[in-house]
Symmetry: C2
Subunit: 307 residues, 2 copies
């Protein structure tokens, strides 16, 4: 994490702004950050976002990209039922966009960091003639009952989701709130068997739970919460298809016992909508029951990079 | 850390290869990795390398870039006197280079990870039509006497360096050995006042120590160890200039008391060359005494990105 030269003014600007934090012994300005870290287990996740793939300017603003780049990682920590603690930021800045762009990007990161009490511990700031690439690594601590994995779903579990799905490309993917508080509340107070955040799409990410847990699922079409953005599309695909496959909703899918699910649906431990969309079954694959009672297979569709 | 689609075959390929490690509870295949982490303090560092800036194909091979991308981070941990434990890897793969390229890149990372017993905990694998961008984050533990910072140099300290300097662009920058063992031996057994690894250049990185420690330095030109690659250049700059300013040597600069320095120079605790190049002084700035006894200022030259 040593870099001088043109970025040096920017790094000094960031260093002056970044707040002290109880987790931070030594922050920006050394070869590595030094963290106070009394946890017995540590969660670590990284996501890289690329201009032209994960966002474009416009419609995105630099602040939005900064917020998104941190939020996608916070969403991963939330999906483990964890508390995010600290982040390091690596960035390749397009030279032609200049210093103000870089500052606005950082302000977006800072906003999200403040909102979730995340210490910005350092990073690596580069510039080049290519597009913006930003990679943030977040460290966190598992909450009360330990990390919630994808692999713990059991036949008979109820499948619950936060929020609504589909049409994220219309704007939600740049301005979502990662479900950190919801994930923490769930993991601290309940026996959550499995959990994942929806980045690839509701169907694709549910399939990750099914694959890792070696189980199947039955979903009910009329229970899938569809976002307003997905209801408003007229591209020939149904709003349900959008909800199942669009991706970047950054909501949580989790599975719990019937008893826990019923308790959650009565007590509503948070304001974010909570919906029961189906059941885990022993038989592999994912089935969807339509309103007329007919069933169809739900493949692991979803938004995909192509190698 | 969820990604499906075209990378999915690659991720499965990586997941099958990556070895178990005592630090790793849950590795690749969940929203975040889960680490066993009994340390009270944690070191964290990140470096992003970009094709066309930090390497080009050719002369670099994908394996070399993988090795370099991990090694630059190991060098940062070494400079804190720390032991690297685990790494996460974020990458944007150029689509046109195909799957074998991605595998060879990963093999390079694995080689370095095995060599230094670093657990590959996970990552984020993307592809796009842009150049290769790779960002690795490494977590480590401080050794015996706690992390060694840049800020602890004191007037009267002797300035010591490992290895030789200059001409790294000829190949060393792709195939250096990060000084992890040397940094650990120093931090475990000696009171090292300050340390940094040389990425920006001997002069530039020594200036980081001087700035953070609010001191100055006197160097002796005839004591600067000059690499064979820097001796062989004929671009109008002296080999001493190359040694002072080239960058990417990835050697250690550190400062210790006169007594410790003399003990180290007699006992030679490791095979890597160890050289006394000068002294820390109270007066700010960096001075170089030439063979004829004359002195000149050494600015914080070094290889720089330009924003």
């Amino acid at each position: 994490m040593t870099k001088t030269g043109g970025e040096f003014g920017l790094i000094e600007w960031i260093r002056r702004r970044v707040a002290a934090h109880p987790a931070l012994d030594t922050g920006i300005g050394d070869d590595a950050a030094v963290l106070y870290w009394p946890a017995e287990k540590t969660l670590v996740t990284v996501d890289m976002l690329m201009e032209g793939v994960d966002f474009t300017f416009p419609p995105a603003s630099p602040e939005q990209v900064g917020r998104k780049a941190l939020a996608v990682n916070l969403s991963d920590i939330a999906a483990m039922g964890g508390k995010p603690i600290t982040a390091v930021v690596a960035v390749s800045l397009p030279r032609h966009r200049g210093a103000e762009f870089a500052q606005r990007l950082h302000e977006g990161i800072e906003q999200r960091a403040r909102e979730f009490d995340v210490a910005l511990a350092g990073g690596d700031t580069n510039s080049w003639d290519g597009p913006l690439v930003i990679s943030i690594t977040v460290l966190g601590e598992p909450a009360g009952r330990g990390p919630v994995r994808r692999s713990g779903a059991r036949a008979g579990d109820w499948i619950l989701v936060t929020g609504a799905f589909g049409g994220s490309i219309a704007g939600h993917h740049l301005d979502f709130t990662p479900r950190v508080r919801e994930g923490l509340l769930l993991a601290e107070n309940h026996d959550v068997h499995s959990m994942i955040d929806v980045s690839d799409g509701l169907a694709a990410d549910l399939h990750h739970i099914l694959d890792e847990s070696r189980v199947g699922a039955m979903l009910f079409a009329d229970r899938i919460p569809i976002s307003a953005a997905a209801l408003g599309t007229d591209d020939g695909r149904t709003s349900l298809d959008h909800a199942l496959s669009d991706g970047e909703d950054f909501e949580l899918i989790f599975t719990v016992s019937a008893e826990t699910a019923q308790a959650l649906l009565v007590t509503r431990p948070f304001d974010t909508p909570l919906t029961h969309i189906g059941f885990i079954e022993a038989s592999p694959g994912c089935r969807l029951q339509l309103a007329d009672g007919s069933k169809r297979e739900v493949p692991a569709l979803g938004w995909r990079h192509e190698l």
